[in-house]
């Protein structure tokens, strides 16, 4: 361990460097390496993921007592905003642009051991290391920095779409539920004091919050499975997605964010966090509609206007708007399948077919990804009404990634 004991002016300069150094590094890389637009988008995603996760993990580290920051300037949630941004830039696009062909773990290991391991505990008054600070460093790298560099790598290569969508969902969640509320509380007052609330209030809020989150996360999953892209317009879907929760509401992610802020505001008794849902509306009116006109309308000149005419932006339809008839193939020999058929037989938008195969299959001409087994039954129940759709999408949200990860593990074993 090195004890630097730098003079104050040097520490002030170091704090400047922690933000401006990474910014200059990224600018130099973009200019010097003539990075493609795709690479720059990849860097942006890594930065956004980094901002959300560095903020969340450092907040956790401060709460655990692993370290805390000195100087009461630009503090948000006891974290210096400039250091968080600098960290997100350096350990996202900065390192990725500098070492594009090196494995992310190999980039991070020397930094963890060489830099943090030697000087982290001698950076006072910038940062005061507490007990177990090295555990905290490992935690931050494992959950914030490494995934950010992987996200950039996969985005530029256009591979690992499910993982990219998952990381972008985590990023969005971090922004919506941690970064923005903290900024709002910094500006308008309020605290994250949840533990003093009655247990039933926390449980109820947690349940309602997870149902609101299902709307957004499930929409993200549908864009990944059926659209072949991510929810971020810079890495858009290849196809127009009108199924899943998109058959009920055209802005499920913004709706989910707005509901999330209302519920979080109620839990924290903070009207300003609730008011952030108005900002979601403002964002849709100003930015999303513009994106719709200049991107979706041009890419899908026939499908988009028809969809837009039939599906509302904010208040979900009770029954889905369907463009084509889906087919659910069931087995007559299975009692559960017969029960499912009896529940769905009255639906116009779904045809029931019978076969000897005991595995249910769901096919929809508007989809490119077909569902099998329990997910097929769930996908069929999405056609009933919004309440059923929410439950069915929750199941699909859990079952599809589980199946995917299991298949990946089995493939590795063989």
């Amino acid at each position: 361990m090195i004890d630097l004991s730098l003079p104050l002016l040097w520490m002030l300069a170091l704090r400047w460097l922690l933000l401006l150094g990474p910014v200059c590094l990224v600018l130099a890389m973009v200019r010097g390496r003539r990075l493609s637009q795709r690479a720059q988008i990849a860097g942006l995603f890594a930065f956004l993921y980094g901002v959300a996760m560095v903020f969340v993990t450092h907040s956790f580290a401060v709460w655990m007592g692993w370290w805390h920051y000195g100087w009461d300037a630009l503090m948000v949630n006891a974290l210096p905003a400039d250091i968080i941004l600098g960290g997100a830039i350096l350990f996202g696009p900065g390192l990725y642009f500098s070492f594009p062909n090196t494995r992310p773990l190999m980039i991070c290991l020397p930094i963890i051991l060489g830099l943090h391991g030697t000087i982290f505990s001698s950076l006072e008054p910038l940062v005061f290391a507490g007990p177990h600070w090295f555990l905290g460093v490992l935690f931050v790298f494992a959950t914030a920095h490494l995934p950010a560099i992987y996200l950039a790598k996969w985005t530029e290569a256009g591979t690992h779409l499910p993982y990219r969508c998952a990381l972008l969902a985590i990023m969005t969640g971090g922004m919506i539920f941690a970064v923005l509320p903290s900024l709002i509380m910094q500006a308008m007052g309020g605290t994250w004091d949840i533990v003093t609330k009655p247990v039933w209030v926390i449980c109820l809020a947690g349940f309602v919050l997870s149902m609101a989150s299902v709307i957004g996360v499930s929409a993200n999953q549908t864009l990944c499975l059926q659209g072949g892209g991510t929810p971020i317009p810079l890495d858009p879907t290849k196809r127009l997605v009108t199924t899943g929760l998109y058959a009920y509401v055209s802005n499920p992610m913004q709706l989910s964010a707005a509901l999330g802020w209302i519920i979080l505001g109620l839990l924290l008794q903070n009207i300003w966090i609730m008011a952030a849902s108005l900002m979601a509306w403002v964002f849709v009116q100003g930015m999303v509609r513009w994106h719709h006109r200049h991107d979706l309308l041009k890419r899908f000149p026939t499908g988009w206007p028809e969809y837009k005419k039939n599906v509302p932006e904010w208040i979900p339809r009770w029954r889905p708007w369907t463009h084509a008839t889906a087919t659910l193939t069931l087995s007559r020999e299975t009692r559960r399948h017969q029960w499912v058929a009896s529940k769905l037989v009255a639906r116009d938008s779904i045809d029931i077919m019978w076969s000897d195969d005991r595995t249910a299959r769901y096919q929809n001409p508007d989809n490119v990804y077909d569902f099998n087994g329990s997910c097929a039954v769930a996908a069929a129940f999405v056609h009933v009404n919004f309440a059923y759709a929410l439950l069915a999408q929750t199941w699909i949200l859990l079952a599809v990634p589980s199946g995917f990860l299991t298949s990946q593990l089995l493939r590795k074993k063989t």
Binding site: L20, I184, Q186
Partner: protein, 123 residues
């Protein structure tokens, strides 16, 4: 292709330079007096916004008039962030309002006003 008029951009760049110099002077004089806060906040509250402002100012070809107006609106908002440090966090949180204003301008305002404003701002 559409772009914000060069004279408008030059005016805003000059304003950004004056504001940055003024903030820099305040930061250094506070530091000499023993208060480090303005000096510590300078990179995030001045240098970074100036960088974003410069990036926007050098984007000269927008696909639509709406895009050029959004560019102009974002530049004005950044100038306000630099000029009003006490309100910077509120202005940053309210950034989507810029895009709402442009959307309302494009979709709600009478054509005569729109044409008059655009002719003064966009080339």
């Amino acid at each position: 292709m559409h772009r914000t008029k060069l004279s408008v951009v030059f005016g805003m760049v000059a304003l950004a330079a004056i504001l940055s110099a003024w903030r820099g002077y305040l930061a250094v004089s506070d530091l000499i007096d023993g208060d480090q806060t303005a000096f510590l906040t300078f990179p995030l509250s001045v240098i970074l916004p100036v960088m974003v402002f410069s990036f926007l100012a050098t984007r000269r070809r927008m696909a639509s008039e709406e895009g050029a107006l959004m560019q102009f609106g974002a530049m004005v908002q950044i100038l306000l962030i630099i000029a009003l440090p006490s309100f910077a966090i509120y202005l940053a949180l309210g950034f989507p309002v810029v895009f709402l204003c442009v959307e309302l301008f494009e979709t709600r305002l009478p054509s005569a006003i729109k044409i008059a404003v655009k002719s003064r701002l966009i080339a």
